[in-house]
């Protein structure tokens, strides 16, 4: 692919990259920087083979830039607090509140019908964004590292200096919260839509 083509193709991906970077970094200026660096690396790089989609390739570059940014941020003690308290997000107790003392569902998961249909609807992706934004910062970061960046669990543990058990708790919390948020804001309302 000639470089003039690629610069034209990159522009439409900017919004997506920014969204993912913002959700993970919770810092607009830093997210802008990281996306800028990603696009620059993409323009100067030779890596795009056309084997994967452009977006998948860009996500791979962004992944490294975000991990670098997180590392850098962790080294700056003054801003560490802005990064959120990861310890409080590893507490599983508040999600036990979704269950009664005998371990049964307090409110059972509802029937979602054919949820796959929602994936083609723009509004569903907006609801998904809102639900991701509502997650505590580190919970969102870990969940996106796992599900969008497709980092392996040991890589995430290493980058964030947490153990595997902490990671499972955080991912469990993210999934429980997202499930509930999607159910309340989409499937309970739109479940009957075609």
């Amino acid at each position: 692919m000639a470089s003039t083509d690629i610069s034209r193709d990159l522009e439409p991906q900017r919004g997506y990259l920014l969204r993912v970077a913002r959700l993970q970094l919770r810092d607009d200026a830093l997210a802008e920087d990281v996306v800028q660096e990603t696009l620059l690396a993409a323009l100067s790089g030779t890596g795009f083979s056309g084997k994967s989609s452009l977006r998948t390739w860009l996500t791979g570059i962004l992944k490294h830039k975000i991990v670098d940014a997180i590392r850098k941020k962790q080294r700056e003690p003054t801003v560490a607090s802005a990064f959120g308290d990861i310890d409080s997000e590893m507490d599983i107790e508040d999600f036990d509140a979704m269950f009664n003392p005998r371990g049964g569902w307090d409110s059972k998961p509802a029937e979602w019908g054919n949820p796959e249909d929602a994936l083609n609807q723009r509004q569903f992706l907006d609801v998904m964004d809102l639900c991701l934004e509502k997650l505590p910062p580190n919970t969102a970061r870990v969940f996106l590292m796992r599900e969008v960046m497709e980092l392996e669990t040991d890589e995430i543990c290493k980058e964030l200096a947490i153990n595997a058990n902490n990671l499972w708790v955080i991912l469990y919390r993210a999934r429980m919260a997202l499930r509930q948020c999607l159910e309340q804001n989409w499937f309970a309302r739109n479940g009957q839509h075609p």
Binding site: M98, W105, E147, W168, Y172, M176
Partner: protein
């Protein structure tokens, strides 16, 4: 009767944790067995399991 009892060796709370953990780690043989028994008798957890699979798909779609 026996099937119901076997299905409740673990609670819904435990089942939901195993369903999530399975996406990152290989469960032990015992964990797989008790989870399967539970999912075969518990509609709510079976729905939860389908919703977790959907969530993973949805996140992949989010990237596309």
């Amino acid at each position: 009767m026996i099937r119901r009892a076997l299905g409740h060796i673990i609670s819904c709370k435990d089942a939901s944790r195993l369903v999530s953990r399975r996406q990152e780690a290989t469960l032990s043989g015992w964990q797989r067995l008790v989870l399967r028994l539970h999912l075969s008798v518990c509609d709510a957890c079976a729905r939860f399991e389908r919703q977790m699979a959907f969530l993973r798909n949805a996140m992949q779609r989010y990237r596309q």
